[in-house]
């Protein structure tokens, strides 16, 4: 899986939680949770979905590295050793 594919997976899972999300309106370098209005339950569900689809573990201590869309994609790529 390459980075564009990871990004597509992330967006797809975000849309499952927030169906109203418009990808074109998402600023990739701005905080994701504010833009998509994810509460902590949404956030946990989002991470569980990524965990299940990509088979990566995401410790709670790493949440600070997943603030923006770009960071999230980079983090997952690193975990997948791309």
């Amino acid at each position: 899986m390459n980075k564009p594919e990871i990004r597509a997976t992330v967006i797809a899972e975000l849309k499952r939680i927030a169906p109203e999300l418009e990808e074109s309106e998402l600023a990739p370098a701005k905080p994701l949770r504010d833009q998509v209005d994810l509460d902590s339950m949404d956030w946990l569900n989002f991470l569980v979905a990524l965990h299940e689809r990509l088979k990566v573990d995401i410790p709670e201590s790493d949440y600070a590295r997943l603030v923006t869309l770009d960071q999230t994609v980079d983090y997952l790529a690193a975990k997948l050793r791309l």
């Binding site: 169906p19 209005d37 946990l44 569900n45 573990d57 709670e60």
Partner: protein, 350 residues
């Protein structure tokens, strides 16, 4: 004979529209079974029945809107005989025999559910295509209806309930450290949220201060032995619902987390059960999720208290209590709030 009436699914509900029966005459039902789906102004709700029995007659038709308390169906209690209850007019019985229809199995529309000649003839006609399940209310209408329902409930609350409000900054160093360690050893899908600790601490504090937990009805307070915590859940399309997690006082945090995740999911999918809508004994709002420091909630009648939690910042949270002066005073409310704060200092015991 059991009468199944449209229950009130919240202080703001006056009527409901039957979308679908989940049972047909002759079906055996158990206490807790979902028998109908009813559209309230807030959501389509799976309505449960609270007695065992056998469905005899469905009175309300899908698509019909009826007031709360309307007898929607009749059931036979266990051991009750259908034969002894069934009334079939002589003309109906004769015609049924001619047509080869069993009149005992028909839904009667006559007095006391009697099967009439018309019922028999209707049955004998070739079955028409089953009516489509009436569509739920469109989203825009739903939003307007929900706003109206919230306005009605909150206006009633502010009119009837003399609120008092208290708040306290609760240190969460221990709770945060405990949660961090706990979540570090749990697989991702089993992680806990701080909200679950808030909900459990509130429920345990209710056991110590029973005047915060129950209903104010007919001019008197009725405390509840069980703590069913209504959880305020905002919906993505706007509006909110506050369905209950049942018996929170007896549940472990892992079980509560599962219940909360399930409840949030179903609330947002519009698939709540009637018992969840109608029986919270206290509400918890966790508006801090949105970043606000403090929330002073409006009590959801007929409840008598609401606990609010702001954003967790610098390992502390501002917790608040809105209380009903008809039932408690600020002094007891303060002790209740103090109990929540104390319980949150021993997260391992929650």
């Amino acid at each position: 004979m059991i009468e199944f009436k449209l229950p009130s699914l919240g202080a703001d509900m006056e009527q409901g529209k039957l979308l679908e029966w989940k049972v047909t005459p002759g079906d055996k039902v158990k206490r807790g079974d979902v028998v109908a789906i009813v559209d309230t102004s807030k959501a389509a709700v799976d309505v449960e029945i609270w007695q065992d029995g056998v469905v005899q007659e469905l009175i309300t038709q899908p698509g019909e809107t009826v007031p709360v308390g309307t007898v929607m169906a009749r059931l036979l209690a266990p051991g009750e005989s259908a034969v002894q209850r069934r009334k079939v007019s002589p003309a109906a019985r004769k015609r049924a025999a001619e047509l080869g229809v069993d009149p005992e199995k028909l839904a009667g529309t006559g007095p006391e559910g009697a099967v009439t000649l018309e019922d028999v003839e209707k049955q004998a006609k070739p079955a028409a295509a089953p009516a489509a399940v009436p569509a739920a209310v469109p989203a825009a209408d739903r939003a307007a209806e929900m706003r109206k329902a919230i306005a009605a409930a909150m206006s009633r609350s502010k009119r009837e309930i003399p609120h008092y409000y208290l708040s306290e900054t609760v240190p969460l160093e221990r709770a945060s450290a405990w949660l961090e360690a706990e979540n570090a050893r749990r697989p991702l899908p089993e992680r806990l949220l701080m909200a679950v600790l808030f909900i459990k601490a509130t429920a345990l504090a209710c056991k110590e201060y029973p005047e915060m937990n129950g209903y104010y009805r007919d001019g008197a307070f009725h405390p509840s032995a069980a703590v069913h915590v209504g959880v305020a859940i905002s919906l993505r399309q706007g509006g909110l619902v506050a369905p209950a997690i049942h018996d929170v006082q007896d549940k472990a945090l892992s079980a509560l987390m599962k219940d909360l995740a399930d409840l949030v999911k179903r609330a947002r999918a519009g698939s709540l059960r009637s018992s969840e809508m109608s029986d919270p004994t206290i509400t918890v709002t966790n508006l801090g999720e949105g970043g606000v420091e403090t929330v002073f909630g409006i009590i959801y009648p007929p409840q008598v208290a609401l606990a609010g939690f702001g954003a967790v910042r610098n390992k502390a949270v501002v917790a608040s209590v809105s209380g009903d002066h008809r039932v408690s005073d600020g002094h007891r409310g303060a002790l209740f709030l103090g109990a929540i704060a104390r319980l949150l200092q021993e997260p391992e015991k929650l």
